[in-house]
């Protein structure tokens, strides 16, 4: 009996390690290959961290990096400005609308990017007309794209506190609606807001389809372009972007953990 159990435990252990190894190889091998490839010939990584040199050698790439960073920052800001007050307001005053808002926010997840572009193209004709063709205008499309993730994060944060009672208590103490949002609700959903922002940044840094199809530039478009002339550099930048996204997601899970342990 005991031998049977020991044998089963051993079999399970073997199975666990097999799965872990296969998955690890599946994920890490391409990354290792990227690292190996991008270090061939030398000079690629040192060039990557030398901004003036980089922007001189690969102006398109530098432009793409700046565009992506700008898009990420603006999208995060616009998303927060739109979503945080809306989510709070819906919870406080229009709870009946919650399913609808949730549905609308989840829609972008179900629509393929290519279909989204077909719909967005005529809209962007107007955007071009009114505010020009800067790649930063992609912010609008990206804000829609990140809604499902950001809404989920913020809504989960709001679920964790009794928004209604807190808001009523604050109002009873003399706080107007703006004060309620900024000084009572926001500080208590800080980690949720950070999560939403991190997810947004990670998503925007990895976006290719919409930017490419709408003829705007960003990091991924630049990498794609670069792949045709300097393969090592393009792979190095891809790897760096991937690692940055990993770091962001790691930070995100750390924030989540910290909140759980402090309760």
């Amino acid at each position: 009996m005991a031998g049977l159990r020991a044998r089963r435990a051993r079999r399970q252990r073997v199975f666990r390690w097999t799965v872990l190894t296969v998955a690890g190889v599946f994920f890490l091998l391409p990354l290792a290959a990227m690292l190996e490839f991008s270090t061939r010939g030398g000079g690629t990584w040192s060039l990557l961290v030398d901004w003036p040199q980089l922007s001189e050698t690969y102006p398109d790439l530098a432009e793409g990096i700046l565009a992506s960073l700008g898009q990420a920052a603006l999208t995060a800001l616009l998303m927060l400005a739109l979503l945080v007050p809306t989510a709070i307001w819906v919870r406080l005053r229009l709870p009946g609308l919650r399913p609808l808002v949730e549905f609308v926010c989840l829609l972008p997840l179900t629509i393929p990017a290519i279909v989204l572009v077909v719909g967005l193209a005529p809209v962007y004709a107007w955007v071009n007309y009114f505010i020009g063709g800067s790649s930063l205008t992609l912010t609008f499309a990206y804000t829609i794209l990140v809604l499902p993730y950001a809404y989920r994060a913020i809504d989960a944060g709001l679920s964790a506190i009794d928004v209604r009672t807190l808001a009523e208590a604050a109002r009873g103490l003399g706080a107007g609606w703006a004060t309620v949002m900024v000084r009572v609700v926001l500080p208590n959903i800080r980690s949720a807001v950070l999560s939403a922002a991190f997810l947004t940044v990670a998503l925007v840094l990895g976006e290719f389809t919409i930017a490419s199809l709408l003829n705007r530039t960003n990091l991924q478009v630049a990498i794609n372009l670069l792949g045709k002339s300097s393969a090592t550099m393009s792979v190095a930048v891809s790897l760096a972007a991937l690692v940055l996204a990993f770091v962001l997601l790691l930070l995100l899970s750390l924030f989540g953990d910290r909140r759980r342990t402090s309760r």
């Binding site: 009672t165 009523e168 208590a169 009873g172 103490l173 208590n188």
Partner: protein, 340 residues
């Protein structure tokens, strides 16, 4: 500091087809503590929330110190409120919670907040965050926070119902002490009749959106205005009786009436368990059905023919009253209400 008069005048409020408040009127004297008592859904919380400005009345007026505040939003009504749910701001310490309202009013927050925490007896926990405080301590801080802004009216929405029994009684007495000390006109909403009787200057018993009776606790208990009040405040036996002039005859005893009643000779009288005494008697008409020891008192259920009568006797008397013992009942001549 002395309180102001508060007048709720003919308030009505419906949620769909449900009338939460139905021409509800209430006059609170300056500095008075009124407890609104009633079963859930009777409109007591709605009345408090309308007074606080957290909900709008469909019709009616609210006067505080003679001023109509019906149009003012909640944040400009100058009312302190303590909720049933823990409502402290989780990201602020106890002291910062109390300072919140003071800072909004641009008053020197430090001293006053510390004084208030001292008043509610948790000065030593001033630096703690809400999740580091017990439920009772959180409600104390909430009370300090509500009183710190020197509100015209203090509103307490079942502030004790989330606490365990011992803390509840302790904090109840404390609230009464503090309220008497600061003299703020206070509305206390509860579904716990013992709490209402213990804390209030006057108790308002509510039913289906309107006041059934508003009177001092003893009056509500001893001379209930209706069968509903008699039934909701304290336990009552429903015993068959016969109207006999200005009295009612129940189980062979003539009892005076709380108020004169008209109607047929056959009535149902509401008799409190503590007005019924149980005496062992081999020839008595009653038989003990069950007993319950409750500490200082005991409850004995006696069957007399078809009727079950609950009586309350002192704890030590229980020994002589075993199940199936023959007994007779003696009713004290306390005025009773009739079921209509």
């Amino acid at each position: 500091m002395s309180g102001v008069a508060v007048q709720l005048d003919d308030l009505s409020r419906s949620f769909g087809s449900v009338h939460a408040l139905d021409s509800f009127s209430l006059l609170m004297r300056p500095g008075e503590l009124i407890a609104l008592l009633g079963p859930s859904g009777c409109g007591k919380t709605t009345a408090l929330r309308i007074l606080a400005g957290l909900e709008d009345a469909d019709s009616g007026r609210i006067l505080v110190g003679g001023r109509d505040i019906g149009g003012l939003p909640a944040n400009r009504r100058d009312m302190g409120m303590v909720f049933q749910a823990y409502s402290l701001f989780p990201h602020l310490s106890a002291l910062e919670n109390v300072q919140f309202g003071l800072k909004l009013r641009r008053r020197a927050a430090g001293d006053r907040a510390a004084t208030m925490l001292d008043l509610v007896g948790i000065a030593e926990h001033a630096g703690r965050y809400p999740h580091q405080l017990s439920g009772g301590q959180q409600q104390r801080v909430a009370l300090a926070r509500a009183l710190a802004i020197e509100p015209q009216v203090l509103l307490l929405d079942e502030p004790l119902s989330a606490l365990d029994a011992k803390v509840r009684v302790q904090l109840r007495d404390e609230i009464r002490r503090i309220q008497t000390e600061v003299g703020t006109t206070t509305l206390f909403v509860t579904h716990d009749q013992e709490e209402a009787l213990a804390i209030a200057d006057r108790v308002g018993v509510m039913r289906a959106g309107s006041l059934e009776q508003l009177a001092e606790p003893a009056e509500v208990y001893l001379r209930p205005a209706s069968a509903f009040v008699a039934d909701f405040v304290g336990l009552s036996n429903r015993l068959p009786g016969r109207l006999d002039g200005d009295a009612v005859s129940v189980l062979g005893t003539r009892l005076p009436l709380v108020r004169a009643a008209a109607g047929g000779p056959e009535v149902t009288a509401l008799v409190r368990p503590e007005s019924v005494d149980v005496v062992p008697d081999p020839d008595g008409p009653g038989r003990v059905v069950s007993t319950a020891f409750l500490g200082p008192t005991s409850r004995v259920t006696v069957a007399v023919g078809e009727t079950l009568v609950v009586a309350q006797v002192t704890g030590e008397r229980l020994a002589g009253l075993t199940v199936d013992a023959q007994v007779r009942l003696e009713l004290r001549p306390v005025a009773v209400a009739l079921e209509t």
